[in-house]
Amino acid sequence: MTLYQKRKAINHFNMAMCVLTTIFGLFWLVWLLWTLVSHGIGYIDWQVFTEPTPAPGNDGGLSNAIVGSVIVTAVGTLIGAPIGIFAGTYLAEYGRGSRIAAVVRFFNDVLLSAPSIIIGLFVYEIVVVTMGHFSALAGGIALSLIMIPLNVRITENMMRLVSDQMREAAAALGIPRWKVITRIIYRAALSGIITGVILGIARIAGETAPLLFTALNNNFFSTNLLAPIANLPIMIFQFALSPYEDWHHLAWVGAFLITFAILALNVVVRFVLRPSK
């Protein structure tokens, strides 16, 4: 074999490996989704949405878990999104170039990848121990701590995409800075910021680990923020690890619902609110 042929062969082999690894990566996505569809879709009926979780052997649905998940996610978003957006605003506007902003940005990125179970532990110690019991509020706070770094990151990036000429033009008209930011920059970066919030919701809706020690679970219908609340992820965790066949079915239904809701949010964000680069 000549050197030329050898180089070509190595190239072909490695490029084939690239194609194979891509197929390998996509293969898992297909397998996971197929598992969810084949295990989950057969057991979906109205009962799932109208009745609370049953005792083993009884009929029931997931209404309490679905409502609970929506509540906990909403609390997390309502606390997390404003803080995240404001902090991102600070990094992109007032704090731009300052040392403190660099430090905040750095630790925000660390927080972004910090293990979510640690966040659960933290909120347990701060909120649950102080209140003396598990609660939906504690769960929401735990989720908000996962939401914040995500929103900080995306808000800052999106506000930085707005050209400085716009800021300067507004400043030249004598508009105070906070009005420049809230009326002009926010408007220009709106689709990006909303993308961040929706991606954040998609992320926290499926989080399980931070809820384990905070929201706990509740087999009954509850909308009380100060009491433990049912939620889909923990319900899936408990039902999947139980020995009961009908609980397994409900766990698969829950898994199917939550995954496709999250994937739908992700796809919507990517195709509808695609930020212009």
Binding site: L26, T89, P115, I258
Partner: protein, 323 residues
């Protein structure tokens, strides 16, 4: 409008209102930014306080002992630390080359119309909640491994020294090996995303000039792209490692939750996060709870080191980019 023109004498007043609004808005955003800093410090401090009873009682013994016995109140974290590190290492062994291949495919090989859909599909892997990976791992993937893959690996490699360790143990599908595989699938999208982004910043002039010299695509990847993006690639790998170390639910489902050092990777083991998920709400007694929080502290310190290194590397990359 006319009122505004007429009210020229109001100008200083309006300016004062503007400055006041500015001060408030500046304050609100700055406080929000400081909350982020306070959070990470709060996490560290609260973990240290919570872990203190256990750490002061056991000292170094906590990190090197493999005893975990709630009955005698004797706790050591070695088994959990071992499981966390080994399953993450196995995950990286698989995920790094695969992610590299995917990133290369997306940036260099794929036709343009294919790049976005494939990137999106890989990103969706990261969007699937970890509990779904856990359920799938337990009910679908583990039985598959135990029926088709593990017996075969056991026969083929089980007796080879050193490598055999990777492939020995009962082929039950649940264990450190399975946890590592599931983790690999979970971190592939994170590593791929960073690698893809860094590969995209390689100036095309560099690539084109080596193509002009007759280099093959692989040679360009190895001798131009990889050296140019070295820091970013390593940063991405560290980021993936940070994810793998802290991953909880998926591991909890498949690792087997056994408090002994596994004799082979097919044996069930435990990880820090899985121990926490399984035992924390059921822990009774101050020392037991404190020992679990100490486990959390160990995990926090390990991931903090990995993530800080990752971010420092990525920062260096973006500094290069700016030049």
């Amino acid at each position: 409008m006319s009122a505004e023109y007429a009210g020229q004498s109001l100008a200083p007043e309006r300016r004062a209102i503007g400055a006041f609004g500015d001060r408030i808005f500046h304050g609100v955003t700055a406080v929000s930014a400081l909350i982020v800093l306070a959070l990470i410090m709060g996490i560290a401090v609260s973990l240290v306080i919570g872990a203190w009873p256990a750490l002061s009682k056991f000292g170094w013994h906590f990190v090197v002992s493999s005893e975990w016995n709630p009955v005698t109140d004797d706790y050591g974290a070695l088994v959990a630390i071992f499981g966390t590190l080994v399953s993450s290492a196995l995950a990286m062994l698989i995920a790094v080359p695969v992610s590299f291949g995917i990133a290369l495919f997306i940036t260099e090989l794929a036709p343009l119309w294919m790049r976005r859909p494939i990137s999106t599909a890989i990103e969706l892997l990261a969007a699937i909640p970890s509990i779904i990976y856990g359920m799938w791992g337990l009910f679908v993937f583990a039985p598959f491994l135990s029926d088709y893959v593990q017996p075969w690996l056991n026969d083929a490699f089980g007796d080879v020294p050193i490598v055999g360790y990777l492939f020995s143990g009962p082929p039950i599908g649940i264990g450190v090996f399975t946890a590592g595989l599931v983790l690999a699938v979970m971190v592939i999208p994170f590593i791929t995303a960073v690698m893809r982004d860094t590969f995209e910043v390689v100036p095309s002039v560099l690539k084109e000039s080596s193509y002009a010299l007759g280099a093959t695509t692989w040679e360009v990847a190895r001798s131009v792209i990889l050296p140019y993006t070295k820091t970013g690639v390593i940063g991405g790998i560290m980021l993936g490692l940070g994810r793998a170390l802290g991953e909880t639910m998926a591991v909890t489902f498949v690792i087997g939750n056994s408090h002994s050092i596994p004799n082979g990777l097919f044996y069930p083991g435990n990880s820090i996060s899985a121990t926490l998920a399984n035992e924390f709400t059921e822990a009774t007694g101050e020392l037991y709870t404190s020992a679990l929080i100490a486990l959390g502290l160990v995990l926090f310190v390990i991931t903090l080191i990995v993530l800080v290194l990752a971010r420092l590397l990525l920062l260096r990359l973006s500094a290069q980019e700016g030049r």
